[in-house]
Every structure is written in structure tokens, then in C-alpha cells.
Symmetry: C2
């Protein structure tokens, strides 16, 4: 009967998603002009997603055939369901965001508290859809496969592994495509509009402004959503497999624990979201209370599950350790990228000496910022292992991931507020309304820092849990396999994994560089060739900019994804399962380090620019500001394309290995 | 008797160094003005080196005491000799370079062939001093310790390990200090002089110009020299230790092979250097013939040693594999950083869209360039292991390192020609002379690309050989130790090593950023406050700029070095020898990848600027050129400070572990 709990909670979550979606949609969408602009964004985003999903579908179908042939039809089915649910969750969430943005702007005209609720609930559609569909999908498949296969847990889980592969593959496409789209548009809009022509951000005269707004939705919203759907799902699957080895100790409860813990986490998320109401005069506090509530409820759920169901309180301690670690990593990220601390101030100071020293300082901040988070993760891994063995490490990860729903809600809240501010600017709303939206935007920046640290910790720890599952799947008849780094072939595996992470990042960054160059050329052309554009007498050709981002994103998302998919298979075929294990570890460690470096370098450079815009070193228009804009642009593809894509990269290589390992045994 | 061969060859090498030094010093040093400028550079470089060595000496002496207490007095002695010889070789080489530069410029007034010979022979002082002092030191200590210890090879080698530690520690100080010095001066001179004020490179009105020239010597010359002295020495020591395990197969010849092979390599180097004569009309061809001669002679020596002395032709094949790999890596580096290929052209093209897209493209080229060299190294490791086991991997490394002398000579040739061109510019020599020096400078750029790939391959492979020696030293009574990455503590070790490489790079880059900011402020101040400076009526205060570089370099080289020294000891004490082994591997792989990324990103950005200066996209003074100057500056600390220092970092963590491992067993 326990197997049905996730399914029931999943259905409740979907009903709640529907409730949130309609309660946001019911709100007033503002003036005629606001509706028009919002419709451009919504149509642009939907049109892009449709084309992106069509492209992805071909690859999914082709791989489903391969999986069906090599692993059987149940595996192919779960692969299709995993990728389908990932894309569905991201689409529902993004669609809600494109409805919430304009309604947030409209609500800001009346009540800041209402604007907060709409933006947060709009983001919560994404948060709840992700965790709800994940527990529904995995829980449903597990219950169904167990029945079909006559109660065999191991065989059922083996057939579920491709669910994770589907989720990861879809996520990597979505994150890369969305990331290339949004950053090329952003860079094109900024470099020509803000720097060369000197018009404000989100100015309707800028030909790339709609592409930029669309990008926020298809990149930040849909991309991040797909990322966390797969972290969440992969982790549940990995730990369930790990649970098989602990069945002598915990019984089937060891297999069900992650699924049940995350399902209860969905309920806590729903409760926490309902705490966000309209009567507020302090948005930061309101959101913090919601986050805290979710955390405390999850802790209670863990205690109940660990102590009562599994009879092992050490697992509770490990899970709390995981929760604490995600908090620490969030604080570290905030230190390195927040405007109130030394690193960002150093970058702003260096901007006085030109763009080169701004970038140099930003890169060094990013590199340094990779140190402490990985130390925290190391401590958690070592301590959880000490407390409760391998299963303890997995429990720590479950602890982190249980807050995925509420974290994702506050993260999606960011682009919604950002979009709302953009719509307000483009529709010429009053300064008062815009400044009340700027408050929300600032809140969004704080929650974003936490989410980024969070996503990183999730990605690396999930990859390690998957790696543990991999080790278990290649061990022969219960005896563990040693992967000895004294063996040169193992060293080679580590090197290959590490070097692939570099190649992958290079391809992602290069794609943005190429697309942005074309965008800059096009925006320059429009300003030059369309008479009256700068004076506001003529309309720019928005569609042209949208087209550049779309074409490039769809084309350039493919090669890095295929390489990530093919490399583990090639390494496994050439060297066997042990060097493949080393390949995973090398890719995860190097990929994780590069991701923190890039995401924080970009975040710090971005905020150094904002710090100068707030009046430091001459403020907007000063030489220091111009230098900081260069740095911000350099950071763009690092923080929003390569960095987040690396999170998916580390899990995809691992789950590919897990899926195809039987072929190399 | 065999033990005396390295000692004899070492003495021959020193005599040859003396011959080269005096034959260069005897040459004409040009006009009064040239001598004056050269004396500034020479005095500045000597003054800095004196202060740097004094600072280093304190640390060396303190650590010698620790080593004496924990490992005995022979170990302390060999530590002192190792660090002393490293510093001596670097100093002799640099001193010769500061004499050769002005004489090269003077010779260029008469004969281009003569200028080539002086520059090359001046560089050869460094090349031969390094390899000569290394084989003399290690060979001498081995012979002496064996006698003292009554013929025990293992005990003798154990006492020699700290020789490598001394060499590595001195090298890291020298490379970091020199790297910070040179890049801060370079950036200060370029950003204000070239970009803001608009005067040419090496213009005597620039207050940072002398500091810049001094920097070329203390950074590029002395720093790289210390780097290769330690690669060369560490590798010999590592392979000799490895040879202990193969004594049943090869006898003591297995221990002596690396020492003898490298000693014969010294003789080949001397022969090749003597081929550089004055009658030449094609400098590239002349140098290529010398490199080829050294390579062929070394191959013959290997064949003789492997086949006749050890009776194992597979070792010859492995060594040839190593030689071939260093060539391949050089070609790959040339592809990614040469002006004739796609990557650098892409960066130059992106410069049309501003500095941000120039830097983005440059960073992606750097990241991508880490892929293929590491694939080549992986192939060599796997193939050599397949051919001749662990000893085969070491033999491949010996193959690469046997050309150290001649490679180092061609590398030091670069800064000498660069300095010669600078002195010619500052002394107002005719355009004709300057253009003949520019030819040499261009040759220097080609040889530099090869050297960089070479140094990288050496560093990573030497670190792996040391790691193999480490594994052997921690194995108990002949049975090998397995370091299983399935063990979470091992994973933690890998992560800690990787993340330390990021912290280390961050500190190195940040140090340059800070120093360069102060330099920019000072140069701006002098142009503003010294009346008549820009018109050439007043002299700048060179000493002030020299002082800024000196103070910062001496201070900022300490923290990264101490962290590198302390980290392996802390990891060993906290987790034991196996996680420490993983720590080394994590640090080596991540450090190696970061080094290639940084060195090639910087090299490619530098050459993109040069490509534009040659006339592309508007040439000097165009917007594209300004963008490319920003990118070049961003690349400076990456390619000349953090990148090369990482080469030493990877070996230092390993040799620290090797030295102190007995404490953690």
C-alpha cells in the first residue's frame, strides 16, 4: 500500500497546480498596451518551445528505439515518460510564468502584497509541477512495474533507470537551448542598446527587447525547471537502487524511503506556498517564513520516516546535515556574489582601472568561490558516511532535495518579477509602480543566490548518489568492485571525464558568443537602417531578433548534448565499466567545479555592475560603469548557459553509464 | 662506476655553461645609451632576485629544520641542495639573459645571423645550467648517499626525495613572484601607455617600461627555468624510486636508467647548441635543425640504454611515444594559439563586436584547447602502460624530458629577443635593425608555443610518475595498495585536490589584479603630475613602478605557496595516505586542465590582438583593436602567472605527499 502514497500525493499536487494556475490567470492583466506586450512575450515563448520540443522529440524517439532494443520495452516506456514529464513540467511552469508576469505588473498598480503573491504563486506552478510530476511518475511506474514483474524490486528499478535518462536528456536540451537563446538576446540588447546607443534597459525601441524577455522565460524558467526535475528524479532513482543493497537491513522500506520522503516534501511545499498571502509589508520576511516552514515540516517528516519506518535515527541526522549544507552553500554563494561583501566590491573597485581588470578580478572571484562549497560538500559526504554509511550520503541528498518545490517557486519568482518590471517599463507605467516592482526584483536576486548554491549542491550530490548506484549495478553478485586510481586505465578514465567537462563548457560558451555576435550585428543594422527608430517614431523588427536566437539555439544545443550522450558509451566500450566509473567521477568533480566557478563569476560580475549603477565610482555612464558592463556581458554565458548546463552534464554522463553499463560488463 | 657518469656529464655541462656565458659576454654591448638601458634592466632584475631569494631562504631554512627533525639530516641536506641548485640555475640563466639581450640588439646592427646566435646561446646558458645542475646534483647525491648508507639503493633514494621538494618549493616561489611582477608591470605599461595615452610599446616615456623589461627576465626567464628544473629533477627522482620495484627485472640498471638517459640528453643538447652558428639566412630552419638533432641523438641514446642495458626494447618504444606526444601537444597548442588558424581568427572576428565578445570567445577557445592535449596524454599513458607497464609510463616521460635543455634554450631565446627589441626601441635604433629583431621575436613566438605544450605535458606526466612513486612508497611490504574511488573518503580526497587547484589559481590571478591596479594608478599619476613627461622633456620615475611590482610580488607569492605546502600535510593527517593519494590525483588532473585552459586562452587572446595589429578589421587604433587589447590583458595573468604556476603546483603537492607520507602511515 505504501507504493500508492507517492501516486496519491502526485495527484494532489497536480490539482494544486491547477488551482494555482487558475487563481493566477483569473487576475487582472492590466492595460491594453500591457496585454499586447505580454502577448508578444507569451507567443514568442510558446512558439520557441514548440520548435524546441519538436527538435528534442526526434532525438528522444530515436533513443527510445535504442533503449527498447537493448533493454526491453518497459525501459523504453519509462524513458519516454521521464522525458515527457520533464518537458511537460517545464512547459506548464513556463506558461504560468508568462501569465503571471503581466498580472504581477498590473497588481503592482494596486497593492505590492498582491503583486508578491501573484509572482510567487506563478512561480509555484513550476515548483509544484516539478516535484508532483516526478513523484507521480516514479511512484506510478514503480508500483506498476512491480506488479507486472511479479513483485521484483530490482527488476522494477532497473526498468525505471531510463526515466532518469529521459529526464536528464530533455533537461540538457532545454537548458542549453534556453540558455543560448536568452543570453544571445540579452547580450545583443545590452551591448548595442545600453552601451552603444545609450537607451535604458527594456526600452521598446530596442529590436532585441522582446527576444530578451522571451529568453528569460525559455531560459531561466523552463531551463532551470527541467534541471531541477531531473536532479530530483535522478536522485530518487539513484537512492532507490542503493536501497536494494540495504534491504537486509531496512527491508523494502529502504527502497521506498526516498520516494516517500520526497512525497511528504511535496505536501510541505504546498503548505508553505499557501502561507504567501496578500497582507504583507515585508516580502523578504514572508518568503523566508515560507522557506523555513517547508524546512521544518520536512525535518519532522524525515524524523518520522527515519526513526519509525527505518528505525535508524542516524539517517535523520544525515538528512538534516544535507539541509544544513544547502543553507551553507547558499550563504557562501551570497557572500561571493552579494553586493554587500568584499568580492563584489573588489570587482567594482577594479572597474576604475578598465574592463580588463574588472574581468580579471571577476574571474578570480569565481575561481575562489569554488573552494568553500566543495569543502562543505566534502564534509557532508564524509560526515554522512561516518554516521550512516553509503545510505547516509543518499539520505543527506534527500534532505537537500526535499525543499526543491519551494526553492524552485522562489527561483521562478525571479524571472517573473524581472519580466513584470520589463513590461512596466515598456508600457510606460508610473515610476511609483516600477519602484514597487524593483523591490520584488531585489527579493528575486536574493532568492536566486540561494537557488544557485542549492542547484549546485543538488547536482553534485545527486551525481554521487547515482555513482553509488552505478557501482552497485556493476558489482558482481554482492561483492563490491574496487576502482583503483593506481591503475593507469582508471587514471585515464578520470582525465577523460574531466577534459570532457572543459570541451562541453567551451561549446556552450562559444554558441552564445556566435549567436550574440549575429544579434549585435542585426541590432546595429536596425538602428542604422530603420529611419526614426531611435526617436520612437518607427517600430523595430522584433521578429528578426527572435528568429536569430531561435535558429541558433535549436542548432547549437545539439552537438554538446550528443557528445555528452556518446562519450560514456565510447569510454565504456573502449575501456570497460571500471574506467567508465572513473570517467563519471572525473566529469562530476571537474564539471561541478567549473559550474560553481562560472555561475559565481557571472553573478559577481553582474552585481558589481549593479553596485556601480547604484552610484559607486560615478554610477551609470561613468568609465567604471562601462567597464562593469563588459564584465557583466562576459559573465552572461558563464552563469546562465555553461554553468547551469554543467549541472545537467554531470548527471547525464552518470545516468547514461548506469543505463548502458550492462552492455560493457 | 655507472653512478659517476651523471656527475662527469654534469661537470662537462657546467664547463659548457661557462663557455657560453663568456662567449656571449665578450660580444659588443652597443652604444652608450643601449648600455645604460641594459644596465637598468640588469640591475633591476638582480636587485629583485636578491630580495626574492632572501625571502625564499627563510622558508627554505625553516622547512629544512622540519625535514631534518622528521626525516634525518641527509634528507635536510638534499632539500637544501635541491632548492639551492634550482635557484642557482635560474639565476645564472637569467643573468646570462640580461647580458645577451643588449648584445643581441647590438649584433642586429651588423648581422642577423650573429644576433640569432647570441640570443640562442644566451638562452642556452639557462637550458644547459638546468639540466647540468640537475643531473650533477641528483647523481652526486645518489653516489654519495649510497656510499654513506652502505650500498642501500632504497634508503639513498628516500633521502633524495627532499631534493625534489626543495626544487619544487623554490620553483613555485620563483614562478609566482616572477609572474606577478612581470604581469603587473606589463598590464600597467599597456593599459595606460598604449590604450589611454597612446604611445607605442616599450616607449621610454612610459614609467612602467623598465619594470616591464625587468619582468620579462625575472618572470619568463627565471620562473620558467625553475619550473623546468623541478620537472626534470622530480621526474628523475620519481622514476628512480619506481625503478626500485623493477630491480628484480632490470637490476640496479632500472634505478639508474632515468639518470643516465637524462645525462646523455645533456650531451645531445650541447651538440645541438653548437649547431647554431652565425652563417644563417633562415633562423626558423636553424633552430628546427638543432631541435631535430637533439631529438635524434636522444632516440639513439634511448635505444642503446633500453635495449642493451635493460634488455627491454618496449621501453625504447615508450620513450619514443613520449617524444612524439610532446610534439603533438606542441602542434595542438600551435593550432589553438597560432594566428594562422581558426580559433585565433574567431577571436579577432569577435573583437568587432566589442571587448566582451572578444573575451567570451577567448575563454571558450582556452576551455576547448584543454581537450585534445589531455586526450594525447591519456593515449600515451594507456599505450606506454600497455607496452611496458608502469615503468613504460615513466620511460615515456623520460622521453619527453630528455629534450628539456634544448627546449629551454629556445624558450629563453624568446624573452631575450623581446628584450633586445625593447632596448632597440628605447635607444632609438633604426627601423631596419628593429625589423631584423622582429624576425627573431616572431621565431621566439613559434618556439614559445612548442615550449608551453611541452611544459604542460612534462608537468602532468611527471606528476603521475611521482604519484606512482608515492603509491609504491605507501605500499606495505611489496603488496600494492588499492585506492578505490568507490570509498567516499577517496572521493573527498579527489574533490579536495581539485578544489585546491581552483583556490590556488584564484589567488595567483587576484595578486596580479591587485598589483596591476596599483600600477595603473601610479602610471596615470606620473603622466598627470610630471610636467613634460609626455613631450619627452622629463624622465619618468622608473623606480616607483619597479618598487610596486617588487613589493607586491614578494608579499603575494607567499600565501599560495604555503597553502600548497600545507594542504597535502593536512589531508594526510586528517584522512591518511589513501585519501592523500586521491588528493594528489584530483589536484593534478584539475590543475593540469586549468593550466592548459589558462595558458592557451591567454596565448590565443594575445595573438588575436597581434593579428588585428597586422591590419585585420582596421588594424591598430580601431575599435576591434581596443577590444583585443582588453582581451590580451585579461589573458595576461592567466597565461603567465596562474597557468605556469599550476604546473609547479601539481608537482609540489605530490612531492610534499611523497616526503611526508611516512608520517601518516
Amino acid at each position: 500500500m505504501m507504493e500508492l502514497v507517492p501516486v496519491i500525493i502526485g495527484v494532489i499536487a497536480l490539482a494544486f497546480v491547477q488551482f494555482l494556475y487558475y487563481s493566477v490567470s483569473r487576475e487582472d492583466a492590466g492595460t491594453e498596451q500591457m496585454r499586447e506586450i505580454a502577448s508578444y512575450i507569451q507567443e514568442g515563448a510558446n512558439a520557441y518551445m514548440k520548435r524546441q520540443y519538436t527538435t528534442i522529440a526526434y532525438f528522444i524517439l530515436a533513443l527510445a528505439v535504442v533503449i527498447g532494443v537493448t533493454r526491453g520495452s518497459l525501459s523504453a516506456l519509462s524513458f519516454l515518460i521521464g522525458s515527457g514529464l520533464s518537458l511537460t513540467a517545464a512547459f506548464i511552469g513556463m506558461n504560468a510564468a508568462t501569465r503571471a508576469n503581466v498580472r504581477t505588473a498590473a497588481a503592482a498598480m494596486k497593492s505590492p502584497g498582491k503583486a508578491l503573491r501573484i509572482a510567487f504563486w506563478g512561480g509555484a506552478v513550476m515548483g509544484v509541477a516539478i516535484v508532483g510530476l516526478s513523484v507521480l511518475g516514479i511512484g506510478g511506474l514503480y508500483a506498476a512495474f512491480k506488479t507486472i514483474l511479479g513483485g521484483a524490486e530490482e527488476a522494477a528499478l532497473e526498468a525505471i533507470v531510463p526515466f532518469g535518462l529521459g529526464a536528464s536528456l530533455a533537461a540538457l536540451f532545454a537548458q542549453l537551448g534556453g540558455g543560448i537563446y536568452t543570453k544571445a538576446a540579452d547580450i545583443g540588447a545590452d551591448l548595442v542598446g545600453k552601451v552603444e546607443v545609450g537607451i535604458p534597459e527594456d526600452d521598446p525601441r530596442n529590436p532585441a527587447v522582446i527576444a530578451d524577455q522571451v529568453g528569460d522565460n525559455v531560459g531561466d524558467c523552463a531551463g532551470r525547471g527541467a534541471d531541477l526535475f531531473e536532479s530530483f528524479s535522478d536522485n530518487i532513482i539513484g537512492m532507490m537502487i542503493l536501497g536494494l543493497a540495504f534491504m537486509t537491513k531496512y527491508g523494502e522500506a529502504g527502497v521506498l524511503f526516498p520516494l516517500l520522503a520526497e512525497s511528504l516534501g511535496v505536501l510541505s511545499t504546498i503548505v508553505a506556498i499557501l502561507l504567501i498571502r496578500e497582507e504583507t509589508d515585508n516580502p523578504v520576511k514572508t518568503i523566508n517564513v515560507a522557506l523555513l516552514t517547508a524546512g521544518v515540516l520536512n525535518a519532522v517528516a524525515f524524523y518520522f520516516l527515519a526513526d519509525r519506518m527505518l528505525g535508524d535515527p542516524a539517517l535523520f541526522e544525515s538528512a538534516i546535515l544535507g539541509l544544513a549544507a544547502s543553507l551553507f552553500v547558499g550563504l557562501i554563494v551570497q557572500y561571493y556574489t552579494g553586493t554587500g561583501y568584499r568580492p563584489v566590491r573588489d570587482i567594482a573597485d577594479a572597474s576604475r582601472f578598465g574592463p580588463a581588470l574588472n574581468v580579471i578580478t571577476g574571474l578570480s572571484v569565481g575561481l575562489e568561490s569554488a573552494f568553500l562549497p566543495l569543502i562543505v560538500i566534502s564534509v557532508v559526504v564524509a560526515a554522512a558516511y561516518f554516521l550512516a554509511g553509503l545510505y547516509g550520503i543518499a539520505a543527506a541528498t534527500v534532505g537537500i532535495l526535499s525543499t526543491t518545490g519551494i526553492i524552485m517557486a522562489s527561483d521562478t519568482f525571479g524571472p517573473i518579477s524581472d519580466n513584470a518590471a520589463g513590461i512596466a517599463e515598456m508600457s510606460g507605467l508610473s515610476d511609483e509602480i516600477r519602484s514597487s516592482l524593483d523591490v520584488l526584483d531585489a527579493v528575486g536576486n536574493t532568492t536566486k543566490a540561494i537557488t544557485k548554491g542549492y542547484a549546485m549542491a543538488c547536482a553534485v550530490l545527486s551525481a554521487f548518489v547515482l555513482f553509488a548506484a552505478y557501482l552497485q549495478s556493476i558489482s558482481s553478485g554482492g561483492s563490491a568492485v574496487a576502482i583503483d586510481i593506481g591503475d593507469p586505465y582508471i587514471l585515464v578514465g578520470l582525465i577523460l571525464g574531466g577534459t570532457l567537462a572543459f570541451l562541453f563548457s567551451a561549446m556552450a560558451i562559444r554558441a552564445v558568443g556566435r549567436t550574440a555576435s549575429e544579434m549585435v550585428a542585426e541590432v546595429r543594422r536596425q538602428f542604422r537602417e530603420i529611419p526614426g527608430l531611435l526617436e520612437g517614431k518607427a517600430k523595430p523588427d522584433y521578429a528578426k531578433a527572435v528568429d536569430i536566437s531561435t535558429r541558433h539555439a535549436l542548432r547549437e544545443m545539439i552537438p554538446p548534448t550528443l557528445i555528452t550522450l556518446a562519450a560514456p558509451i565510447l569510454v565504456g566500450a573502449a575501456f570497460g565499466v571500471k574506467p567508465l566509473g572513473a570517467f563519471i567521477v572525473g566529469g562530476t568533480i571537474v564539471g561541478g567545479l567549473l559550474a560553481v566557478y562560472m555561475i559565481n563569476a557571472g553573478g559577481a560580475l553582474d552585481n558589481a555592475k549593479k553596485l556601480i549603477e547604484s552610484g559607486l565610482h560615478g554610477g551609470k555612464g561613468s568609465d567604471a560603469h562601462k567597464a562593469a558592463v563588459v564584465g557583466d556581458t562576459v559573465g552572461d554565458p558563464l552563469k546562465d548557459t555553461a554553468g547551469p548546463s554543467l549541472h545537467i552534464f554531470v548527471k547525464l554522463i552518470t545516468i547514461v553509464a548506469l543505463t548502458f553499463a550492462p552492455l560493457f560488463l
